[in-house]
Subunit: 690 residues, 2 copies
């Protein structure tokens, strides 16, 4: 770069050009342009960077700073300090009430979905909400029981329990309802669920302390949409047996899980269907669906959401209690419920090893869904949500709740939208909701023992509507972006055909692979000058763009690096009519010979799309430069960004090629090429004249 000879060369070239072209910097070569305008910053070593960082940190450290930072980890303090009673109290109260009313039936239903006694679903709707209120930053999130996480909890428990009991379980054919048989080992299940919650919380807390919240950017929208849509299918399927009052088939492998599940269910349906249960369930679904639809329509006019789920549940409970549905028609009901808040117990660590993988998966799923929801609300209402603080809040919620017999919690879309829609403004919404839930758990729980299971299934199924509607995302991505569409489909299909955890792995891998595949075969276009401007555009799209004879202007619309270098080379040679294809062995008769001679004398490669170039890319450019030189073709680069220039420098591109082949602008390079061509022809003309 600072080589003497080179500079001299540049200067000479420079003068030559200056005389021929108008003297604006854009028409000169990059080297002289940089010499004139650029200042090099002193290179900072890694250690210097680190020192600077530490210094900056230390200088801002003070007692007050630390105290503020600490208080920022407990956002409720700020919320209480800045609380505006007149502006916020009414909305928070209403929203808290509305959401707590949704919490009751949903909590019970999801508790059953997690194969635990339904009261534990209520615990999950109570404890995590209080803790999230203290540490969370998004007032519109309704943390608590969540269908997908409940299902995954059930599976994790199942995995551990099935192992030692495989033999025994096969003999157990006398039980008529899976939930009843499950209750036989309730204590073990509860133990496992609380351990799982603790582990999920620990995973989330560690992510938060390691400041790894940024990892959530890899859980992109198409992935989450495809994943939750697929998971909703699993939740839906898990409710079918409860709806029809039949046994839940167990021990189905992960391959083609859903179809095999349905085959088993159809078999069971024929033998065991409970018509009363089915009737109650289907009626509930229709009623709820209509009520929800009405609610959605008149949401704008009526502020308070109709507690259709609660009304329905109360109604069926009364009916069930007085008509003795359970005894007379053997409709499965919730059954005995413990009264009062659970006494704090320390989760057991026995099954730690068997649960840790499930815990990581559940942590990933719950945080990805919750954070994407929080970001959505924060965008809508313009407040800041910090991934790391949210992770901290979810982690604390799970860890502390795990001492109160809770299973892992998360933030479902449906309830959160209601919390937002019914006017919740601050974190206190959660507090008001918890007060009501606490009352229910302490005082009213025993009244709920007659709730028919099928009614809870109906509540879950109708709440899945939003997820099923997400399948429209497929069409959206299909129309607009094939890569996002592939990601959505891959994630959805693997969740559907295999299982939730496999879908998670495949989906995340796919999103990484897609980012590479996307850059494999970018468009490689020939550019032409638009009329007399200095704008160069694709000649296929802009018919008025004209090319200069014997000059090819090309643009490769991606960063050049190892994975697309072979494609780049092949295409480039195709564009300038150099072909490596051999003549056919048995000749056709009439054939052109000498196809290896290109009509071009100059190739200008616009490097503006190169955001990055690696050593393989630079090696290729040097190789192509030399090869074209041999064929009498000059390669010019233009519009290289500083990142690319830096790598070219480091790889001694300038020493290995003739210096002065890089131009600031495409127009400059084209003009230089034109100048050389014109010179050549006049020289030839003069010679021929002489």
């Amino acid at each position: 770069m600072t080589d003497r000879n080179e500079e001299k060369d540049n200067d000479q070239e420079d003068e030559l050009l200056s005389s021929a072209l108008e003297n604006t910097p854009r028409n000169v070569q990059l080297q002289s342009f940089l010499n004139r305008y650029e200042t090099r910053q002193p290179k900072l070593l890694f250690t210097d960077h680190f020192q600077q960082h530490v210094k900056r940190r230390c200088s801002s450290m003070s007692f007050l700073y630390c105290l503020n930072a600490l208080l920022d980890m407990i956002p409720i303090v700020r919320c209480l300090k800045e609380y505006n009673i007149r502006k916020n109290l009414f909305g928070d109260l209403i929203a808290g009430f509305t959401v707590s009313i949704m919490h009751i039936p949903q909590g019970m239903a999801y508790g059953v979905l997690a194969t635990l006694p339904s009261i534990h679903g209520l615990y999950v709707s109570f404890f995590p909400v209080i803790i999230y209120m203290i540490f969370g930053t998004c007032p519109h999130l309704s943390i608590g029981s969540f269908a997908v996480v409940s299902l995954m909890t059930a599976q994790a428990i199942e995995n551990v329990i099935q192992l030692p009991m495989n033999g025994m379980r096969n003999n157990q054919t006398s039980f008529s309802f899976s939930t009843e048989s499950d209750l036989l080992m309730t204590d073990e299940r509860i133990n496992l669920a609380t351990t799982l919650a603790l582990l999920v919380g620990v995973v989330q807390l560690s992510l938060s302390f390691l400041r790894l919240g940024f990892l959530t950017v890899y859980l992109t929208e198409p992935f989450i949409s495809g994943f939750t849509t697929g998971a909703a299918m699993h939740v839906f399927t898990s409710q079918i047996p409860l709806l029809f009052g039949i046994r839940t088939p167990r021990g189905i492998g992960k391959i083609l899980k859903l179809p095999r599940f349905y085959v088993k269910i159809f078999h069971l349906l024929y033998h065991e269907i409970n018509w009363m249960s089915t009737a109650i369930g289907l009626v509930s679904i229709v009623v709820l669906y209509v009520a929800k639809s009405l609610n959605d329509r008149y949401k704008s006019t009526i502020r308070i959401v109709l507690p259709s789920e609660l009304i329905l549940m109360i109604m069926w409970t009364i009916v069930s209690y007085f008509t003795k549905l359970h005894q007379k028609y053997s409709v499965p009901v919730v059954g005995e419920i413990k009264r009062g808040l659970p006494t704090p117990t320390i989760p057991s660590f026995e099954s730690f090893n068997q649960l840790i993988i499930s815990a990581v998966v559940i942590a990933a799923v719950s945080l990805s869904i919750s954070i994407s929801l929080a970001k959505m609300f924060s965008r809508k209402h313009n407040y800041k949500v910090s991934s790391n603080q949210e992770l901290f809040a979810y982690g604390m919620a799970n860890v502390i709740s795990s001492f109160f017999q809770c299973y892992p919690s998360a933030c479902p879309l449906g309830r959160s939208v209601v919390q937002e829609g019914s006017g919740g403004k601050t974190m206190l919404t959660g507090g008001f909701s918890s007060i009501i839930l606490g009352t229910v758990i302490i005082a009213l729980a025993p009244l709920l023992r007659s709730v028919p299971m099928t009614c809870l299934s109906a509540i879950i199924i109708v709440n899945l509507k939003g997820f099923f509607l997400q399948s429209r995302d497929f069409l959206f991505y299909f129309r607009i972006n094939s890569f996002e569409c592939i990601l959505w489909t891959m994630t959805f299909m693997t969740v559907l055909l295999f299982d939730v955890d496999i879908g998670l792995y495949v989906g995340i891998s796919t999103s990484f692979i897609i980012n590479t595949v996307r850059t494999q075969k970018p468009r490689f276009v020939t550019l032409g000058q638009i009329e007399k401007t200095e704008i160069y555009e694709d000649i296929h799209r802009f018919p008025l763009a004209h090319e200069y004879p014997r000059v090819k202007i090309l643009r490769f619309n991606e960063s050049l690096y190892a994975c697309n270098a072979p494609f780049f080379k092949r295409k480039l040679y195709e564009f300038i009519d150099i072909q490596f294809t051999q003549s056919p062995l048995i000749s056709y008769g009439t054939e052109k010979t000498n196809i290896n001679l290109s009509i071009y004398k100059f190739v200008v490669l616009e490097c503006s799309p190169f955001n990055y170039i690696d050593t393989v890319g630079v090696k290729l450019l040097i190789e192509i430069y030399k090869d074209l030189k041999k064929r009498g073709i000059q390669l010019y680069l233009s519009e290289c960004r500083s990142e690319v220039r830096h790598t070219l420098d480091e790889m001694q591109f300038y020493d290995k090629t003739d210096s002065g082949s890089i131009y600031v602008t495409t127009h400059g390079a084209v003009m230089a090429a034109k100048y050389h061509l014109d010179n050549e022809t006049t020289n030839n003309d003069q010679r021929s004249q002489v």
Copy 2:
């Protein structure tokens, strides 16, 4: 886009601008520019594309075409047809002879490395060479036995054999040399090795038939370099016991394999070291190293490579035979060797299931190394190598050889470089080499039974020199490209600390992950105009670049998509001084208020680095546009490429934002901003004057 109102708007704006600015297309908005110059190509559906493709294919189909295509799959035909005896024959003969002389000791050594009788290494140096000569396209590749693949073959065999014999093996402490004990189950080992070769060949052939040769682009240079350097360490380690004449420790897990191996070896060394074997080995290493170094130095003057390995082997064989090294000093020797070519046998399919994963891994490793070598030579000598044809050739070589008691073959760097250096020009080189090897196998094999094992180890170890020198690649990547350096290090370290196959998985995953991570936090720069030109550059690097008051010109040096969208948003707001940070809870005393007011009125975002934008990116741009609008800031985009424009169109960017916010060039956008600002101030001035 074709909306009437919008066009009218555009026209109005256009007129306004035209009057104010010079009337070149660059200064107008993108919409009017496109209307004037762009033609839309009719959208082709997928089916249309397919039809076109089929038509094109069918039209070129003819008997001659098909015949030629078929003949192109057997490149030897073309080679023989175009063979120039005067020009090529001498070089081919010399190269064939030289390489065959290298084949003999290496083949035997690698045969032992694969824990097979050494004669099988010679088979691998014979059969695949003939078949590759017929189907291959790269005359400089010396296919045959290869250290890394031999080692992986040994591991694959070990995995299968260990399973049923685990209990028995632990009791076997009487054997003094692993090779001897291995020979106890020679037949089983040979069976497994040939099955493995068949499977590897089938994998390669399927890749070739599915035209998946392009997948090899993911096996990038840093990966292959790191991988083979690590694998060389394993090969080196495997030779230590043979060198010192001790037992090979077995049954070491994959975690920290090498250190644990060394610990065991040090223990064995103390008890079992065979000093005679050690002496022979060390002397051989020194002699070979010196001979190779001399060879490298005088390569340019002497054309024929000194067959130092062969001379050394013959010498030690004679010494070993006459001094009875084996009997007197119990130096392990090669032992009984079958004479003559093996009779064709069909590989057994018993262990198919246990070998298939190893086969896929070996196929991937061997083809990635071979193809990268072939590409290197093809670049150097300017001929074309087709990945798919090469895959076909390797596959055929493995499949056919597997019927002749061969284990998987590949192309090592060292021998191939010799083949190239000693003047081989055409595929016939391989033929000449095979003739000599065939003679050795048929006639001279029994003479080799006294070759000391330690001598073969010495040959392998010295041949690893090239791989160890590759560790300099680390420094190269460290200096130039941190991402390639990370890839190299990750691959190398996992191979070193775990095992070859784990290294392969981790390396490939890393290269995918790196391509995503690379785009996470690109440089986001403020641009300024360079003097009076229309060139805008980073103001930090170009101190003469000047900004316009109240206009911020930004460039995000990567494609905007889901994974970097949050970073983009945060940085953009930082750049235009909009901060979301809350005031500290406990205030410091002196603080500015109203930090949320930006001094900027226009933000110009140069989109030239956007090679791709996804729906998340567009949504973010719309959101930012609207948010900035609320704050009284106008966002202009400039230099959007057609791919980006297409996605913006599809996402109704123009409907959702005010039309006319996209400009063709950055300068155009800046001028428009300046015009509006000037207008505003003159209006204000006029008003204040009135």
